[in-house]
Each structure stands twice: as C-alpha cells, then as structure tokens.
C-alpha cells in the first residue's frame, strides 16, 4: 500500500478520490518518513527524551496538516453532492408524465377499499370495574374479530404518576386513559383532539358522531378557546349535600330542610347550614362526614368546596380578565354582547363570554387578582366555622369518611349525584364486608365487618344544594359543580391506530355500546359498578326510578368551567407545587397551627414564588404577558 493510498483512506474513504499532488509532495511525504524513523529505530537510534516529546508533537501537528490539507476542499463552490438516502425513506415507483407548469395535473384518484379493522385496543382507565369493560371489549371484538381489545385498568392511587410514566417512555401503549389527571399533558397536545371526529359518520349509528351526544354536554367538553375536545365526558354529575332524614328529624331540623327543598334552588344559607350542624351535634351526630387528606383537598370534597365557594367571591372579576375587543380570543357577536349579571347563574358560560388566560396571569402578576384580600378572608372565616362546627375533630387526614354516613354516625355527606345510584349498594357492601371506597377512591375491602357495619341499613336520604354564603364580599349566590365527567382520552399516536381507538369510542357511545356499559355499571352484582349521573349519550335510558331521582335535582349553575377567578382557589389550576403548598397551609390553618392572616399571606407568597412555574404550566412565556391581545406563542 502506497503512502498516497493510506492518505486517501484516511481522508476519502468513500469514494476513493486521489489526493492532490501538492499535498503529497510537500507535506504528506514527511509523514511516512517520520513515522518510519520513529517506529523502526534501533537502540542506537534512541532519541533523548525532549526529542521524543518534540517528535510526538511534530507527529501530531503533521497529522493535523495532513488532515486539513488533504481533506479540505477548495474555496470554490461545488454542486450539492448527492448523499445516501435517509435510512427510513421509502420509495414507490410512479409514472412520469411531465405536466407543463401552465397547466394543472389531471386528477385520477382510485378509491381505496376499506378493510376490516385490525389492531389492539388497550383500556387503561383509573377504575376497578373490569366487568363493564370486559363486556364492552367482548361486544366490540364480536363485531371486529381482527381487533384485540385488552382491559388493563389501573387503581386511582398513583394513576397520575402512571400516566406520566407512560408518556415519559414515548408513545403510550394504552388506547384509553383518563386525561383529566394530567392537564399539562393535555395542554401539550399529547392527547388526540376528538373534535376532528365529531362530524364523521359513526358506523354504529349511521349519523355524524356528534349526533350521539347531548349538545350541551358536547359543548362542555369543548375547549372554549381552541374548540378542541380532548376528553369524552358521558355522565352528568352534580355536587350536592345529602342528609339522613332521621338524623335531621332527631335534631329537629327536618322540617326546615324540607322547606328549603321547596324553594327554586333548594339552597340554605351558610349560617342556616352551620345552625343545622350545631343541632346535629347536640343530637349526638357528627354533622358532616368529610375527608381531609391531601386528595380531598386537591381533587375531592374539600377541593370542590374551595373551588365552588371561590366562585361566589370572584364573579365580579370577569371584566378584568375577559377577552376584550382586539384580543385574539374576542368573539364578535358574543363577547361584545356580554353584560355582567350576577343574578344569572349562566352569565359566564362559554357561550356568552370568553376569558383570556393571558389577562388572568397578568392580573395575578400585577396583584389585581390576589388570594389574600378581604374576599378570601371572608370565605376562609366561613370555612373555619364549618371546620369547627360541622366536622369531627381530626377530620384533617381522614381518608375515607363515607362509612360514617353509611352507618348513620354522620348526618350529612357532600357528594356527587352518583350517591343516588350507589347508595343502597354501598350500604349493602359495607354490611357484607365488601365495601370499598368506590365513589372516588379505591381501598382495601373491609376484612371483617364490624358490628356497626353489619347493622348498616338503607335509610331515607334527602339533599340540598350548596349553602350560599352571604356578606359584603359575596358577588352572587353559590353555584355548584354541574358537569359531565368520565374524562375518556386517547393518547395521540399514528392516525391509523387513533382511528381504530376512536372507532371503539364510537361503538362505546352508540346506544348498543353505552347500553351494555350502563347495564354492567348498574348490575347490582358488580362490586365496582355505579354511575355518576344521567348519561350524556342519546337514545340510552336509565331505569325509571333512577331517572326520576336524577330528574328531581335542581340545577343552580356550574362553577367547573373557565371562570373569572376560581383558577386560584386551591393552588393555581392543577400546578402541583402550588396545590401542595395550599393544602399544607390550609391544613395548618384549620388545625390552628397558623392564623388566617399567616395562611393567606403565605399562600399569596407561594403564588408569587411559583409564578414562573405557573406561567410555564399554563404554556405561557414572559413575552406573552407583554401583549395580552396576542395569541400566546405556545397555544
């Protein structure tokens, strides 16, 4: 092998291009000579240490010169050299029929035949109800033999973490998840926008898919700003207070409660409600069965209360944060028609007003929306009175207070309307020792039923809507959570797989599929069954008595939507660092470790300290805050 060949190999391995003569003659020739001198010396050729060192440097330097000289190209531009095709490239032969640029290509599309559906669907909701999903999968597989439908449900505990892990590992295997637990991933568009499918024909009903849903429910699922729909919420739920009629009778307040039930909103005042608590305490009952652990404060009952009642005090902030003329989100014919009306519980529905998230955050940054003002003080004073007079000592930290209500130790339970459907079953399961906290939690079944549990019997229950707080700081009557829930989401994958998964959803929301769903959910032998409320799917009916129970509920307006100020009711949105600090501070306040002033000041400080994280969580940048009229760069 000649020296030039060696150099060629170094510099131009593929293809072998001759190295220029100038290189060889002036510099490269030194290379082999020096190498030979260095490598083949005998004892008498041993060089002093400094010489060896120098020669090494020389050797390295020459190598540089060789590389640069031989491998660099002249300064003159060269045409783009064809590079090897990318490894993932696929190429199909196509006929070449050049079309003059003045003309447009002739259209000759051959319709592609639609094949039988194939693939795998993995159902991974946070649920224990294997029976229902097995039944749905079996029904779907019977229609589509080429599809493998797998049920891999997950327990609610740690579900959020599980979902995050799935996305951290790439594209999740799961086809169906509860997306509501990871709002940030929804914001990051990790889930499929189902709105793209709503106008497509459902093969199971023959009409557009949107026609399978109640229009109002569909509207609630839609992001008012972007029009996207990332979750399917198919059961309508209302949060309200249930009470044991016998306990109320024992306390002498049944008639009063029944009189309230006759009013249009079935809503006592807050002070009236506290009075009921006192009467129940005097009668030997625990007034309210309420959990006080982290989950309760974050996503369950006390978290609901924090969000629902913050609404009473922040409705008048709407003008501050709504989309104004010139804003990217301003909708002509809607936002320009809006007038603040605190007596209208639907005044801030998405069909009437649009809120600008950038203006919200600017208001938070500039101190126009705080959490330590007079309104928050008034609200938390009421909450403290509630904690002191209505809950048993040590409610903070209680993870499951429902048995207190079922065993008639506690007289009132704040719950979703699902209690109407599940109450008898829950009483029975508690008596049989198979109770688990199915309403919203999971839990180990009670291993040995206690005497009290065995004595649990079905009792008459009544209900009332959120007691309304009163005072100077209150803007409007209390509303409640009246939403559709379910939160069925599809992780974004390739279109073919997503199409298959949406086809399964179309089946599940057809009268046939949802009928099977309800049948299993309402099966008295299904220990994990139960529904949350009337279905949002059309052409599916509940059993008569259950439908009547739901129909008797009085709607008072929804707070669980984009509102003026409830976003900061318990931390900001679901931004966990602020949620945790709020839970921590609120628990300290309710257990008298800190004063109300300390609580509110520290909560305000927490939001200020976490502002950058809040901004990022809401997909905003500091630049976005410079001009709220412009659509944020990451939206």
């Amino acid at each position: 092998m000649t020296t030039s060949m060696v150099i060629n190999l170094i510099c131009n391995p593929l293809p072998l291009v001759p190295v220029k003569e100038v290189c060889f003659s002036r510099t490269c020739a030194l290379f082999p000579l020096l190498t030979l001198k260095f490598l083949t010396h005998s004892e008498d050729l041993i060089m002093p240490q400094k010489q060896i060192s120098r020669s090494l440097w020389l050797w390295a330097l020459l190598l540089v010169v060789v590389m640069v000289a031989a491998c660099s190209q002249p300064a003159a531009p060269i045409p783009a050299a064809p590079a090897p095709a990318a490894p993932q490239a696929t190429q199909a032969a196509a006929e070449e029929t050049p079309v003059p640029e003045e003309e447009v290509v002739a259209i000759a599309v051959t319709p592609t035949p639609v094949g039988e559906l194939q693939g795998q669907i993995v159902v991974s909701f946070q649920s224990n109800d294997i029976q229902t999903w097995d039944a749905l999968c079996a029904a779907y597989e019977a229609l589509h033999p080429g599809v493998d439908c797998v049920v891999e449900l997950k327990p609610p505990d740690g579900y959020q973490e599980w979902v995050r892990t799935q996305f951290a590992g790439g594209i999740p295997k799961a086809s169906l998840m509860n997306g509501n637990v990871v709002a940030d991933l929804i914001n990051a568009k990790k889930f499929l926008d189902l709105s793209a499918y709503l106008d497509k024909e459902s093969p199971y009903t023959g009409g557009a898919w949107r026609e399978d849903f109640d229009a109002g429910a569909l509207s609630n699922m839609r992001d008012p700003l972007t029009g996207e729909t990332f979750t399917l919420n198919l059961e309508t739920v209302q949060v309200l207070w249930f009470y044991n009629k016998q306990a109320f009778a024992d306390a002498g307040i049944l008639e009063e409660a029944q009189a309230v039930a006759q009013t249009p909103r079935n809503q006592p005042t807050w002070d009236q409600f506290l009075g009921w608590c006192d009467a129940l305490t005097d009668a030997g009952y625990i007034p309210v069965a309420l959990e006080g652990d982290f989950r309760s404060f974050w996503e369950l009952r006390f978290g609901w209360m924090a969000r629902m009642y913050a609404d009473q005090f922040t409705r008048d902030e709407a003008d501050l944060v709504r989309c104004q003329e010139g804003d990217w989100c301003f909708r002509e014919g809607i936002d320009d028609q809006w007038v603040y009306d605190s007596s209208d519980p639907h005044n801030d529905n998405a069909t009437k007003i649009t809120f600008n998230p950038v203006r919200r955050i600017i208001a938070l940054r500039d101190g126009e929306q705080t959490v330590n003002g007079a309104k928050w003080r008034a609200m938390y004073e009421n909450f403290k009175a509630f904690a002191d007079r209505c809950t048993p000592a040590g409610w903070i930290g209680t993870t499951d207070a429902y048995p207190l209500f079922l065993t008639q130790k506690a007289a009132i339970r704040l719950d979703g309307a699902w209690l109407l459907a599940n109450f008898e079953k829950d009483v029975r399961s508690l008596a049989e020792g198979t109770y688990s906290y199915t309403a919203a939690e999971s839990g180990a079944p009670t291993p040995t039923p206690s005497t009290d549990d065995l004595a649990a019997n079905v009792f008459d229950i009544g209900s009332f809507n959120n007691p309304t707080m009163e005072g100077d700081q209150v803007n409007a009557e209390a509303r409640t959570i009246e939403v559709n829930i379910g939160f069925w989401s599809v992780p974004k994958k390739d279109q073919q797989q997503n199409d298959l998964e949406v086809d399964f959803l179309m089946f599940a929301t057809s009268p046939e599929g949802f009928g099977a769903y309800l049948q299993n959910r309402l099966d008295p032998n299904n220990p994990h069954g139960g529904i949350s409320g009337p279905p949002a799917v059309k052409n599916v009916d509940l059993p008569g008595d259950l439908a009547e129970r739901f129909n008797n509920l009085k709607l008072i307006g929804n707070t669980e939507k984009s509102t003026a100020g409830t976003y900061r009711a318990r931390g900001v949105g679901d931004y966990q660092p602020t949620v945790r600090e709020w839970v921590d501070l609120a628990q300290q306040y309710f257990t008298d470790k800190i004063t109300l002033d300390e609580f509110l000041e520290q909560y305000q400080a927490s939001l200020e300290r976490n502002f950058d994280g809040i901004l990022e969580h809401m997909r905003l940048t500091p630049e976005d805050l410079e001009d709220p009229t412009k659509k944020p760069a990451n939206f």
Partner: protein, 680 residues
C-alpha cells in the same frame, strides 16, 4: 560496555519517568487535531450565509418571489417586512395582529398576509395596501397563485376562504372537517387549493370550491406545498415524516422521516428540491426525486417558516427566535459538504490516529530498550493480573452476565441520576444543563428540610427499635434449654420475613383507621373513647403512629442477625463466665454485647441507610401529611419526580441523599469498633 549500560539505564529511567507525560501529550495532540478541524469548519460556515435579519419576534411566515429579488417575512410583533436580495429592508407593513402567514406572487408584485386581526391583506410590490378581507376568525395561513390572481386563506373557523386576487372578493368558502394549519395553492387561472389538517389529511379543493380528493396520512399535517402544476405534492407531518406524492393520483412516491417534527415545508417549482424546517431547528434540503437528504443545517431555534425560490436556487427561513435567514442553495451546499467531510474525517481520522498510536506503542515495546524495560518491569503486575484473569476465564465468563446487569440496572441509573442532578430534566421533553441550580432548589425546599428533621427522628427511633426488642428476644431464645422449643421459637420469629413489608404496613393502616380500626375500637371497648384519635391524620400523633408501626418491633432480620451472633460465641467463653460466677446480666454486658459488635455495626449501617431512604412506609400511611409533618427526603424525591414531573430536582435530592449515606457509612466504618477480641 558497563559504562554504556549505566548510561543507557539512566537514560531509560529518564525516559520512563516521562512516559506518562508523553502519552498525555499525545492525547493533547489528538485534541488539537479535533480543535483545529472544528475551527476550520467554523470559518467555512461563517462565510456561507447570504444574509440574516432579526424580526424581533417569532417568525410565522416567509415568502420568496420567483427570482428571489424580494423576500417577505411576517412575524408575531405585527410586522410584515419586505427585503431585497441583499437583505436590505424595502418596506414594512403593520397589520393589527400577529402575522400568521405570508405569500407572494411569482413576479413579486403582490403579497398576501394572514393576520390574527381576522384579516387577509393584499399588498403591492411597494407595500401599499391593495385590499383587505375581513373574516370572523383568526387567519392561520395564506397562499397565492403564481400570478397573484387567486388567494386562499384558512381561518380558525375551519373554513378555507378563496379570494379574488384583484379585488379581495370572496369567491367561495370550503368547510374543512377539521382544523387546518397549512394551505398551498398551485396553478394560476385554474388555481387549486391544498389544505393540511390536524387529523392527518390533505384536501385538494378545485377552482370552483369542490373537493377533488383527500389523502389520509399518518400524523397531523404541519406543512404542505406543491410544484407549479400540482403534479407533486409534499407534506411535512408532526411525526417528522415528509411525504411526497403524486398530485393527480395521490400515490406516494417517497417518504422520509426526519428526527423532529416538521413545522414548515416547500418544494421548488420543478419538484427537484424539497425544503423542510423542523421543531429542533434543523433545516433539510431533500432530493425531490427520492427524498435523499442533500444537506442539512441547524439554526438552534425551531424553524416555523420556510420558502424556496421558484428555481430552487435560494431559500428563506424564519425561526422561533425571530431570525430570518436567506441563503443560496449552492453556498449552503458548500457548507454542508464541508461539514460532511469534517464529520467523515473525524469518524475515520480519530480511530486511525488511535490505531497508529497503538501500533507505535506496540513497536516501541517490541523494539526499543525503554520499551523492553517498561514491558518487563512496569508492566509486570498488569501482565500477571491478566494471566490470572485468563486462567480463571470460565469463572469470569459466568460472572459477566451478573456484572453486566448490575452495570445496566444499578450503576447506569445511579450515574444517570448524578448527571441529571445538574439538569432540568423532563424525560422525553427536555434535558437542559443548569449547573448547581437544582441543588440550590433543594436547599430552599422546605419539605426537604422538614424531611431531614423527620429522618433524624426515624433514624433514632429505628435504632431504639432495632437494638432493644430483637436483641432481647434473641437473648431469650438463646437461653432456652429445650432444643425443640428453642428451634420452634426461632422459626416463629423468623417466619414473618416472608411476608412482604407492604402487607404489614397496610394491616397497620387498617389498625389505625379512625372508624373501623382495631385501635380505636379497642379503646372504645375499654371505655377510653377520649383516647381515640385519627392516628395518622392528626399532626400530633402521625409521626409517632408511623414509628409505632410493627409493635412490638421484633424485626425478624435484626433478630436473626443477633441470634446468629450469639450462637457464634465460643462455648469456652460462656463456660468461663460460668466458672467465674458471672450473673446473666454481667455476661450480657461483659461478653455478649462486646462480641456482638460486628452485628451491631452492620445493623447500625443498614438501619441508617434504610431510614435515610425511607419512602414506602410514609407513602403508604400518610403521604407526608397531614400538612407536611411526616415528610421525608425520599418522599419529596418521589413527589418531585412523579407528581411534579421535575426529575432534575428529584435527581439532585437523590444525589444529596447519596452523599449523606456515603458520609454516614464512612463514619460508622471508621469509628464503630467491629469486635472485641478476648485473650484466654
């Protein structure tokens, strides 16, 4: 001869003393090679850009006239800028909102602008407004026929708005089934519209507003473009895929997957070149005939807009950082080719240099006196070790899988965690080096410090539990004289080892349940209602309740360790204590305890490590609550990772815990005496 040998010996010693530095210098030489080559490449790169211009905000739209004499840039700060081939500003137009898209006719005489102010503007070559079209929603993109006679824009109302290029009159509206983000037009008087949607479709709409075909692709369409006749259509997808298909029959001609999401795409009029800008800031020039990557470059900011001149000789790109860059393809090709050569040179050159160095080293060992000396004297021990390893190769072969798995599943994650402690790390999203920032956050984290305090309490309580009951039980069983009974008792205390710890914890959670728990029920049965508590929910009792879990705290593991220590005490020593008349108590203090120091040391270390890493017990009982009274650092680590998605901070907490454990263990090893030797 002797003198010569001495001289040689001295000389060799000098050489050998410097052999290490020689090798280091050789390494430095290689580094120099790399540095010089990189520097050379930078020089080449710096020469190739035609012009760059900062728009001051995100650039969402760029367009380039047929002969590249006019370039148009539209940005988020309500600016439309027209620049000439040299990059000089010709004029500027300011709509009332963000500019989401721009288009230009082939002759540069007409410029269309899609804006957030719900308008489409048409400007002439001087930047004067010709007409504006007012819609009801934000316009997301705009395209124009070659002659400027036809304009198509897509809006957030999911409609394609077709406008007369001369008057701005609405010709027709086409309702898309889903939101479209990108639009293109081909043809002139018979112009057709291509619109790419978020549900992975491309729709072709005819001049009269009727749909001609739709193509289903695999992911959301982020960019679409076509040749002048529409015979070739290219789409850039969210997945990074670039698909080129026949515009007449929709048959795919080629597809290629780029490493990042494609944000924008364009194709030259003859279809010979495709240009794609991606989310990771890379620009790709592809061969229109087969999708081969002709060149690529990275501009370090997501590229949201690209445009190719009609002849494919020039391109313009706009970035998220607000930079517009105009280049001619040839100079870009030169740059790309230089970089490719550099890359190839490094790939081949560095291994070659290393091989040559190795060869030189071998020859030096073989043929030089200093090499001989080095081989015989300095390398003797390594060679001996090598021979020993070779002799035991079968053993090492069997050990290899274990070591490999250990490296992969134990050491790699640990080292990875150490590295990520210095980063903002969101797996699958970003890894950004932030130095010691995460450690500062750990220092400022109140939950971490509450956890440290709780950990100290748990360590202390753990020691008390470990060194009392298990030791007492071990002593008692050791002193049982009946062998069968002794064996039975030992087994009974050991069997709980097979029960998973989590089961025991959940049983205790049930015992503490305020409503149905054994503890409160027992207190009630004894008439002690006033003593009942929400044991794990009350901040006064939560930590104590956790510590009390496992009562009476006879840890099977500690018991076994102590019992093993006791039975290993020589019988002679025990007999001697009897002869000396020592009481049982004295024997415990003077004999058993000193001889159990090895076991105590082991349990001290394991207990310390276990308490520092305590997570499971807290997570399953209180989750750190109520408030923050039962937090531990390990629990905070877990929450930061999986609840807050803040893996960088979690890694930093892990690194701090590692240091604490390492230091604590070293102290124990140094200062706790293992055993006491007694001389007979």
């Amino acid at each position: 001869m002797t003198q010569m040998k001495k001289k040689l010996s001295v000389h060799m010693t000098q050489i050998l003393s410097h052999s290490g530095s020689q090798l280091r210098r050789m390494g430095a030489g290689i580094s120099l090679v790399v540095a010089i080559l990189l520097f050379a490449s930078l020089i080449v790169r710096a020469q190739s850009a035609s012009w760059q211009h900062s728009a001051g905000d995100v650039i969402y739209g760029v367009a380039i006239s047929g002969d590249a004499s006019i370039q148009v840039v539209g940005s988020r700060n309500n600016r439309v800028m027209a620049l000439d081939a040299a990059g000089d500003l010709l004029w500027e137009f300011q709509p009332r909102g963000t500019v989401w898209g721009v288009a230009i006719s082939a002759d540069g005489a007409r410029i269309a602008v899609a804006s957030e102010d719900r308008r489409v503007y048409l400007l002439d070559a001087a930047g004067s407004l010709v007409w504006e079209y007012r819609g009801t929603h934000i316009f997301l993109d705009v395209a124009m026929s070659r002659d400027g006679s036809f304009v198509a824009a897509i809006a957030e109302d999911r409609n394609v708005h077709a406008l007369d290029g001369a008057t701005g009159e609405l010709l027709w509206r086409f309702a898309m089934p889903n939101m479209a983000d990108t639009v293109a037009v081909y043809g002139a008087q018979n112009a057709r519209v291509l619109a790419g949607t978020r549900d992975s479709q491309i729709h072709l709409i005819n001049t009269d507003g009727s749909e001609l075909w739709r193509v289903q692709l695999s992911r959301a369409v982020r960019g679409v473009a076509s040749v002048g006749s529409g015979a070739r259509v290219v789409a850039g997808l969210e997945s990074g895929e670039v698909v080129l298909f026949h515009g007449g029959n929709t048959q795919t001609i080629w597809s290629v997957t780029l490493p990042s999401r494609v944000n924008a795409i364009d194709i030259s009029a003859d279809g010979s070149t495709v240009l794609a800008g991606t989310q990771n800031g890379s620009l790709y020039l592809l061969d229109g005939s087969n999708g081969a990557i002709l060149q690529s470059q990275n501009v370090n900011s997501p590229i949201d807009a690209v445009a190719l001149s009609t002849d494919g000789r020039y391109f313009l790109l706009g970035t998220r950082s607000g930079e517009a860059r105009f280049m001619d393809v040839e100079s870009a090709a030169t740059e790309f080719a230089s970089r490719q050569r550099l890359q190839t040179s490094l790939q081949i050159g560095i291994p070659t240099v290393v091989l040559l160095l190795l060869l030189g080293f071998i020859l030096w060992l073989r043929f030089s006196a200093s090499g001989h000396y080095f081989w015989e004297v300095k390398a003797a021990r390594p060679r001996r070790l090598g021979r020993q390893v070779w002799r035991s190769r079968v053993s090492y072969m069997f050990l290899a899988p274990t070591i490999t798995l250990l490296l992969i599943f134990n050491y790699y994650p640990a080292l990875s965690g150490l590295f990520h402690a210095f980063t903002v790390w969101r797996p699958g999203v970003e890894t950004r080096w932030v130095g010691f920032q995460q450690f500062i956050h750990v220092w400022e984290n109140q939950y971490f410090w509450v956890g440290i305090k709780n950990t100290l309490i748990l360590v202390l309580a753990g020691y008390i539990k470990t060194f009392t009951m298990p030791l007492l039980v071990a002593e008692l069983i050791f002193h049982i004289r009946n062998r069968w009974l002794q064996y039975s008792m030992r087994s009974l205390f050991t069997i709980p080892l097979v029960v998973p710890a989590i089961v025991g914890i959940l049983v205790w959670v049930n015992i503490y349940d305020p409503n149905i728990g054994l503890l409160n029920r027992s207190l009630e049965a004894l008439g002690l209602q006033q003593w009942t508590r929400v044991w794990l929910g009350n901040e006064q009792t939560a930590l104590g309740s956790i510590i009390a879990i496992g009562f009476p705290w006879v840890s099977p593991f500690a018991f076994l360790i102590f019992y093993g220590g006791l039975i290993s005490i020589p019988q002679e020593l025990i007999d001697a204590t009897k002869v000396d008349g020592a009481s049982t108590w004295m024997r415990f203090w003077k004999l058993d305890l000193p001889l159990l120091m090895s076991q105590i040391k082991l349990l001290l270390i394991l207990g310390f490590i276990g308490s520092i890493q305590e997570f499971q017990l807290i997570f399953l009982t209180t989750g750190g609550g109520p408030g923050n009274v039962t937090y531990t650092p390990a629990l905070e680590l877990y929450y930061q990772a999986v609840r807050f998605n803040n893996f960088g901070l979690a890694s930093a907490i892990g690194a701090v815990l590692f240091i604490v454990i390492l230091a604590g263990t070293a102290l124990y090893m140094r200062y706790v005496t293992s055993a006491v030797e007694y001389e007979a």
